[in-house]
């Protein structure tokens, strides 16, 4: 059975990627809200925000990328929910395939779809004047962090995808995630926030990830933030994976 894991995952990945390519609006809707926020903050609020850096677009972009991923992973929950409700998941489960291939195909699809959305958002940022002198290694580190973050959030999205009672329920989990960047260092420095808010902002995962990516873009040393960011991502990934695969086993037997 496990001998077929790679082949089955590949086959099912091809299927979900067709879903993505036939509903390109999902990529657009994923990218459109972060782009709207980017326009709003850069051209409306940005002038009044003092971040201490030369370019507000460059300051803002990491948080916008996090937001893009948080809204992109909702489609994993959505697609999984539809597979479950339409009965096609049961059809797959009654066939001689590697059972975990079904989940992995959805997760890998999420990585591909989010990567495309991220490229679109970065493209818009470039048009808006974002520039970075970061070298190849720094860009690879940014890419790696974003993919790890996507992987963690996607496994988190699998849980409501398998357990939700309605389509709305399947995607509602993402709203707090999308709003998390607002209470972080993503848009404004945390220094001006009142005590408790600042304490929350400085210790929630988005801040460490945003700081890491921002330092990489601005060719600054990343410091401790990268380890905190990694710990958050890997921790979320492990917990979400265990809970999601547990929910999957209960669902199919």
């Amino acid at each position: 059975m496990t001998a077929h894991f790679i082949g089955d995952t590949g086959t099912l990945l091809g299927r979900s990627l067709r879903h993505v390519s036939r509903s390109l609006d999902t990529i657009v809707t994923t990218a459109i809200m972060p782009i709207a926020f980017m326009l709003l903050f850069v051209y409306v609020f940005g002038g009044a925000i003092d971040t201490g850096s030369d370019s507000y677009v460059a300051y803002l972009l990491p948080g916008i990328l996090i937001m893009t991923i948080a809204s992109g992973v909702t489609y994993t929950a959505y697609r999984l929910f539809l597979d479950l409700r339409s009965g096609i998941l049961e059809r797959f489960q009654s066939m001689p395939i590697a059972r975990s291939a079904v989940l992995w195909a959805h997760v890998l699809t999420s990585l591909v779809a989010n990567l495309i959305s991220l490229v679109v958002v970065v493209g818009v940022a470039l048009v808006m004047g974002f520039r970075s002198g970061a070298g190849v290694l720094a860009w690879l580190a940014v890419l790696g962090s974003l993919l790890l973050f996507t992987l963690a959030l996607t496994w988190l999205a699998v849980i409501p995808g398998l357990t939700a009672k309605s389509v709305d329920g399947a995607s509602a989990f993402a709203y707090p995630l999308i709003l998390l960047p607002f209470v972080s260092s993503a848009f404004v420095p945390t220094g001006t926030m009142p005590g408790p808010v600042r304490a929350f902002a400085e210790h929630q995962p988005v801040t460490s990830i945003v700081n890491t990516i921002r330092d990489l873009f601005m060719q600054q040393p990343v410091g401790n933030d990268i380890w905190i960011a990694l710990a958050w991502c890997v921790g979320t990934l492990v917990v979400a994976y265990v809970v999601a695969t547990g929910a999957y086993r209960r669902k199919i037997s």
Partner: protein
Amino acid sequence: MVATAIEVHGLEKSYRDLHVLRGVDFDVARGSIFALLGSNGAGKTTVIRILSTLLKTDAGTATVNGFDVATHAPDVRESISLTGQFAAVDEILTGRENLVLVARLRHLKDTGRIADELLERFALTDAGGRRVSNYSGGMRRRLDIAMSLIGSPPVIFLDEPTTGLDPEARIEVWRAIRELAAGGTTVLLTTQYLDEAEHLADRIAILHEGRIIVNGTLAELKKLLPPAKVEYVEKQPTLEDVFFAIVGGGK
């Protein structure tokens, strides 16, 4: 090769306080069509889900194609295919892509040819390149059944295969099921339409309140009632006869 394709003994299943199955026993001979009759909620789907390894039993044993569903689930999955109550097809893919997908997941070669042959056999060749979301209910069901035939599994489960279909589509599905059995496939179907069981099945079992209360051929079942009284009644055409006379379909 064992002579019985499906053996079920003392199957029990409860959902919390609800005892859906209270000791179900039946055997299905290889190459025959076996109909499981029962009203809604009688537990027909639960039996099918247990036999297709989607659900575990609380008690009792079941073997499919000689393999125990509890201990040899992968072998069972290799031997069966399931057509659920609602056509489990991928709406966004085309009909042909759906067939290729299942053929690939069954690890077959030459998946394109398999898909084309099935499209032709189920009169879907013209629709093969269209997305399934544009299909009618009957076309969806035909595609669904075509997907179940890929890889020629020896045992096929059909859970209410004609529910929600129009009369023409229903007769097409019946024809497909008869062809399957003629080719040696064992078919276990559930239905709430009594005439469907009467038309198709070699043996009929009635599932009621969690148990099989009757199991036999149609002739045996008819003997359970007092002998028919002979009366002379003018034969009126049924609405079905009228329907087919007008639209030009037929049995």
